[in-house]
């Protein structure tokens, strides 16, 4: 079976580029905060040198802030690491919950920029399917991107994972703007279709319940 590798490749590269750029930006923000606080410490020290002593306890908040940013940076890098390594992985048994967590975390900046609030309702136990992790992440991102547009004025997006007999489902709920017609004209587009084909997944919309549903069989057929 031949997949549309041109489109899939293009999509993957765009996705990777976007996420990498976002990671870099986030990291730069973290560095900026650490930088500022280092500067602040410097200022304190210089003041003290000039004869204006201070109580060391005043430095506590500064150190706290920096440690917080260090932890944040650590998180970002760990995510980036997982993300980057997922590219090399072929069909693997992966937890859909974890994958969604990763994608949501990677897209945090974009979500925040659009003023959307994500409410996660994941299946209580890991939902295992066998897929190539990177392309799965790519597809979920593209659907999340679409869902953020379709969420309407309420700006609260629900994210649900379910286990079914045949496999699993990912549902984007509360897409109030779904019924206004225009989003569905351009979605799914070439990229989404190519990925759906590669991942052996089906996309459906429920206009009554205003949901977008991706269905996966447990194993990828080859």
């Amino acid at each position: 079976m031949s997949y549309n590798w041109e489109v899939i490749g293009q999509s993957g590269l765009q996705f990777y580029g976007k996420m990498s750029a976002s990671i870099s930006h986030e990291f730069k923000n973290v560095l900026a905060i650490i930088n500022e606080n280092a500067g602040l410490l410097e200022d304190f020290t210089l003041l003290a040198k000039k004869g204006r002593p201070f109580e060391l306890e005043r430095l506590n908040p500064v150190t706290e802030r920096v440690m917080k940013q260090v932890r944040r940076a650590d998180g970002i890098i760990k995510r980036m690491n997982t993300f980057a390594h997922s590219i090399d992985q072929s069909d693997t048994k992966i937890d859909l919950n974890e994958t969604l967590e990763l994608v949501v975390a990677l897209s945090e900046r974009f979500v925040a920029m659009r003023g959307v609030n994500i409410v996660k309702t994941f299946h209580p136990i890991p939902v295992m399917i066998t897929r190539r992790p990177f392309f799965l992440q790519n597809l979920i991102w593209l659907c999340l991107n679409f869902a953020m547009d379709a969420v309407g004025d309420e700006k609260t997006l629900g994210l649900v994972t379910e286990e079914t007999k045949e496999g699993a489902r990912v549902i984007f709920t509360n897409l109030k703007a779904l019924t206004s017609g225009s989003p569905m004209d351009t979605f799914p587009a070439e990229q989404e279709k190519a990925l759906l084909s590669l991942l052996n997944a089906q996309l459906a919309t429920d206009l009554e319940a205003v949901e977008l549903i991706i269905t996966f069989a447990r194993d990828i057929r080859r």
Partner: protein, 118 residues
């Protein structure tokens, strides 16, 4: 408890040693695997904290050599690298823990104690 820290990052290893001192833990430091092996031959350490990637000998090679000289010495890896393969390789060779940088000092001390008691 006597600890040897092995890492090529000067600022990191010196500061960590100082912090351990503040917690009444005797910590020495060296900047390469080769130096670590030389030191081990003369001194006895309870725990050695190793980085994976260093100039010259790698962390794993250093561990092997230390174990030959002082089999009873416990080894903890503290690395920025974080690959699953390395983690398993280290465990296979008998490392007690595998930690990622940056590390919470309390966690490090906990692992060191575990290594000595376990």
């Amino acid at each position: 408890m006597k600890v040897l820290l092995v890492d090529d990052e000067y600022e990191m290893v010196t500061t960590l040693a100082e912090r351990l001192h503040l917690r009444a833990i005797d910590a020495d430091f060296v900047f390469s695997g080769k130096d670590a092996v030389t030191l081990i031959m003369e001194e006895m350490y309870d725990v050695v904290v190793l980085d994976m990637k260093m100039p010259g000998m790698s962390g794993l090679e250093t561990m092997e050599q230390i174990q030959e000289i002082r089999p009873k010495t416990k080894i903890i890896f503290l690395t920025g690298h974080g690959s699953v393969a390395d983690c398993e390789a280290s465990k296979k060779h008998g490392a007690c823990s595998y930690l990622l940088k940056p590390v919470d000092i309390e966690v490090l001390i906990e692992k060191m104690c575990e290594a000595l008691t376990g």
